[in-house]
Amino acid sequence: MKRKNVKRPFSKTRLKNQILNVVKNPFNMIVAVSMVILFCLIVIPLLQMIASTFTAAKGEIKRIGGNVGDFTLYYWKYLLVGKLAGATLWGPLKNSLVVGVFTVLVSVPLGSVLGWLVVRSDLPGKKLIGMLVVIPYMIPSWCKALSWLAVFRNKTSGSLGFLAGMGIPIPDWLAYGPVAIVLCMSLHYYAFSYIHVSSALRSINSELEEMGEICGANKVQILKSITLPLVLPSILSAVVMTLSKAIGTYGVAANLGSRIGYFTLATKMKTFINGGPQGVGFAMSLVLISLAALIIFSNQKLIGVRKSYATIGGKGGRSNEMHLGKAKAPLMAFLVLFLFFAMVAPMFVLVMETFQVTTGNGYALSNLTLYNWIGAVDEAERYISYPGIFRNPEFGKAVWNTIRLTFIGSIITALCGQFLGYISTRGRGKWYGSTTEQLVFIPYLMSGVAFSSMYVAMFSQPRLGGLIPSLYGTFTLIVLTSVVKHFPFASRSGTANMMQIAVELEEAADINGANFWQRMGKIVLPLAKNGFISGFMLTFISIAKELDLIIIMMDKHTQTMSYLAFTYSQEGLNQMADAISVCVLLFILVCYIIANRFGADIGKAW
């Protein structure tokens, strides 16, 4: 039945009561404030960036003519149809897509098979394997790029890597460029598929498979026609995540591609944003954003209806193991090999390289030194202008910045996440709940470099008539960027956390006379505590790993360990870069272990 619109005569009391109803409820105020903040931090910067691709800037004024601030299509023309469009856009776009597609082709099957083996097979030592398999994901992808270089580096970039040092000729196509990038990213992003598929498999009741067996299907038929279709939605969403992440990743592509002039959209974009014309860089970042949005929304269209059965039988379904039989030995060997190549070998080479005088020169005692860790400048065996990292004040500063950034950033992020989660769960089905969810999702569409370039554009000059000063080059801007970029993840964990707190618990307090703040303080917060801590730790790890996001804004004063390692690597100081990555790795692993103690599930991190 349609709702009939009752016309009521205007009454002052009614108006007064209506206003009081809204104002007296602090929840409404919180929703209003969050809306304004989300609008300022997400929508306005996006619009600002879009506007700046149509506005003439000072640097290009000579070429464009007219005045600064005039409307112009110069940047888009430059990007899309200019003489250099092939090298600026289409080449890198093609490279990005090639890298993305091949990363998906390698990482998704890899991760899915691993997930199936760990959840469903009778492989010995599954628990240990399950733990080890996620560790490569803990290692920042740019660290992987560095260890790749440590193994495969050749003459092209000066010093030799492990293999070249042993006299094995390493061609450029293997050491640098698309192959290296695809393999490195695959060894990182397989974790998405692993996490998705394994949790989907866990939620499927194995009775479904047993029914297939009773009907006379063999193992391969069961896998093909029952298990696979059931986990297909999760595999597809892993494909989407991997694709959109791989296209936007900067660190790996820059470390492995730039040396031989292999550019992807993300790396090319940064050249423009740092070297100008910035408008072109912003336009490229919009291309990246629309690409990611296109991929994600087409996926939602594709699996929207089917998604529903991904959790069917999720109620404590018994899970029977599938006997691998003769395949056990080869699969075990495959796993051990995988873990060796993905984790042990590169880590070993990376750690050892930090002790080498000349990389790729073997591990003879004469080639080993502690210089990279604790050496003073005058002890250097060859010309290096930096002391070992523990004597280098820059490193100390970077450590401090990293800790400062991760702590402040993740506390704020986790707090905001809980609040946003509260708003979207309590506002489920209401306009403000879905608006919050959608606004918070926007940063997820943007790769790190695109997102930070947007923030640079927004905050590099005073805004709101000087109310917000220019934040360019400040630590505040880096924190702000990290916080907002991690909103999607934090609010998702906040939502999951708040979903566990039934609305009735609050309503019961309401009836007993508790006001909003008493309900928050005495009911919601105490119950949300555990979820908050695990959400905090996961954000913490994620910010500590981050390079792509903050690389555009870093300078000598604000640099973090990740950035310092990246600069050293670009300067050819490979051993020192490696030493710093080892420190970052240790930092992250320690945090991961602590997070696990608090029951944080790394499967929720993306």
Partner: protein
């Protein structure tokens, strides 16, 4: 102790009209049950009374004090209405002990310590759970949690106690225990109670009055016996009672202020005194004859007013026996107390007291002749 009056309450969720012009008076001291299948608006009504939902139209008063006036957009806060609510899920705060759960609301009211202690122990004693005072909710069984939830609600001395399907999460035996417990509480406290359930047995056994809901509307408000004996329409008759009421097709005609009904049960004439105010169609019209199974008595021999029938099936269940019978083309059920045995296809005779028969207009489905 309070009298609640709901006037023209309308509630929409979006375009979904979930409460349609609800008018209901709950007298002081009543045990009022809101009864109906799921999704009929009974819980929404309870939440409107509690203040957790705001209706778009209507007025509600408690003891003459306006609590809701949708025209003025005035809604008193839940805590200002002098009521308390027991949720279906109990909603015990898992991070607080039984003591803290019950004392929470009292502390918020800033009652003196001694008073809090007294009320805490009174309510625990009343619910017979004093020994669990320092336990956490997850250390209690479902039935004990239920008692804590009620103790928490009564500790605030509410004038009005609201219960939302409180027994639906308990097993069958506990449910029967809690039914008598709730009746005892109602007597001891003298509080007005509004009780939501979809279980007709709960409604019939505990309430002083029942409000029957149908698709967001109130279809009948009556005492349990009246509701059982004279359901207002076919749907209500079908809903109330287990085993279900027997319906037989028939025809009726109004002659000289008397209702003449013909059916497989024979011919009946009912006097005007037993008729309801429903309009009677002109001439002969189709009707439905309704009779409760326990009113159908079976005899082996013929006698005055008895009707010959055939046994179709026989279901002895210890304390009662259900016998399916056939009269002409119509089937109906008889409920006999104790064990009884009849052969299938056996010829028997039934006696049905005419004053216990309900007659419904088949077209409007409304009750036109009452049972006495």
């Amino acid at each position: 102790m309070s009298r609640i009056e709901l006037k023209h309450i309308d509630k929409f969720y979006g375009d979904n009209h979930v409460l349609r012009d609800i008018n209901l008076v709950i007298e002081d001291g009543d045990f009022m049950t809101l009864l109906g299948p799921s999704g009929c608006g009974k819980t929404t009504t309870l939440r409107v009374v509690s203040g957790l939902e705001k209706p778009q139209n209507g007025v509600m008063t408690i003891d003459g004090v306006e609590m809701i006036n949708a025209d003025l957009a005035y809604y008193a806060e839940p805590s200002k209405r002098g009521l308390n609510l027991v949720f279906q899920s109990y909603a015990l705060w898992p991070h607080m002990t039984v003591r803290e759960n019950i004392a929470f609301g009292l502390k918020i009211q800033k009652l003196p310590k001694a008073e809090i202690e007294k009320r805490l122990h009174d309510s625990l004693r009343m619910m017979r759970i004093e020994e669990y005072i320092d336990r956490y909710p997850n250390e209690l069984s479902g039935g004990q949690q239920q008692r804590v939830a009620i103790a928490r609600a009564v500790a605030s001395n509410p004038k009005l106690l609201l219960l939302d399907e409180p027994l639906s999460n308990l097993d069958a035996r506990l449910r029967i225990d809690m039914r008598s417990e709730l009746q005892r509480i109602h007597r001891e406290l003298g509080t007005t109670i509004i009780y939501v359930t979809h279980d007709q047995v709960e409604a019939l056994t505990m309430s002083t009055k029942i409000a029957l809901f149908k698709k967001g509307e109130l279809s009948q408000v009556a005492s349990p016996m009246e509701l059982y004996m004279n359901p207002i329409d076919l749907e209500a008759a079908d809903f109330i009672g287990n085993p279900r009421i027997n319906f037989l097709e028939g025809t009726a005609v109004l002659q000289n202020q008397e209702l003449h009904v013909r059916s497989e049960l024979g011919e009946h004439v009912f006097s005007a005194d037993d008729m309801t105010d429903e309009p009677i169609p002109e001439g002969e019209f189709p009707c439905v004859v309704a009779i409760r199974p326990e009113q159908v008595q079976i005899f082996e021999e013929d006698g005055p007013g008895r009707l010959p029938v055939t046994v179709y099936a026989n279901q002895p269940a210890g304390s009662e026996t259900l016998v399916s019978l056939q009269a002409g083309k119509s089937d109906f059920l008889s409920k006999q107390i104790g064990l009884a045995h009849y052969e299938i296809n056996q010829k028997v005779f039934v006696q049905i007291p005419p004053e216990k028969i309900n007659i419904y207009d088949a077209k409007s489905t409304r009750l036109i002749k009452r049972a006495r």
